[in-house]
Amino acid sequence: MNLEQTTRDGVVVFSVKGRLDGSTAGEFEQSVLAALENGTTKIIFDCNGLDYINSTGLRVLVMAYQRLHGREGRIAVCSLKDYIQEIFTISGYDQIFALHQDCSEALRRLRVDG
């Protein structure tokens, strides 16, 4: 897994590349937790380079959702491969995350919607 973190207009964007599974989810979780502890309330997961995710990886996204839900935060997931998006549907997580094909659109929505 390769993880890049950038902040754009108050929105923290995590760009995740490669495999997000049991051997990499811990590192990913630490980075997300650190951002949340710094007071971040808007997060985008840019999955353009994400080739693989399992339930352990999904759990980190759900953890971020749960933490942000309590402080009226916002979260979006963008640029998922179609076969990974299906796993969001199977798991029901398409109902809790705003899924966008276009990451620019996701960023615009999070900025505009406050």
């Binding site: 495999r19 693989y52 399992n54 339930s55 759990r59 759900v62 076969y83 798991s91 029901g92 809790i96």
Partner: protein
């Protein structure tokens, strides 16, 4: 005549799953399976093996998980045998998908098993000779588009059917 595609044994920890995934990816590309199918097969195996490594063994280093892949026409059969504590994934409670995550009383722990079952056309479990034996089947002819749906008989418990002996 069924064709044996792979026999893989995991005796180490998590890193071995990535090794297995690489082999399946290489094999799948040679057999011209779609990237989506390769992902789904790897994910199903990953979910069951990860679950076994996470919860199935009390003592580290004493485990052995065997994975066999066999192609019978368009039917891909996968068998996972392990010497972990008895665990029938078909009896694992399904996640409460109808409720928002914050209102779910059960943990998200069952999600991996739910995903595995949803990606397969058939799942059978038995415990024999001190081993969990899980058999998964996926019809690749139908899966060229990899349409996913929950397994029929979901959560009804395993069967004792053979066919792999």
């Amino acid at each position: 005549m069924p064709e044996n595609l792979m026999a893989y044994i995991i005796t180490a920890q998590r890193g071995s799953i990535a090794g297995m995934a690489e082999i399946i990816q290489k094999m799948g590309r040679e057999l011209e399976w779609s990237e989506k199918c390769i992902y789904q097969l790897n994910l199903a195996l990953d979910e069951i093996v990860s679950n076994t490594l996470e919860y199935g063994y009390v003592t580290p280093g004493m485990h052995r998980i065997e994975i066999f892949l066999e192609l019978d026409g368009a039917l891909l059969k996968m068998k996972i045998k392990d010497n972990a504590a008895p665990f029938n994934p078909l009896k694992k409670a399904a996640p409460e998908l109808d409720k928002p995550p914050l209102q779910r009383e059960r943990s998200v722990g069952g999600m991996g098993i739910h995903i595995m079952k949803s990606l397969m056309d058939a799942v059978r479990y038995r415990y024999e000779h001190g081993q969990n034996v899980l058999e998964l089947e996926k019809n690749l002819e139908k899966a060229t588009s990899c349409i996913t749906r929950p397994v029929v008989g979901f959560g009804q418990g395993g069967t004792e059917q053979g066919g792999w002996q």
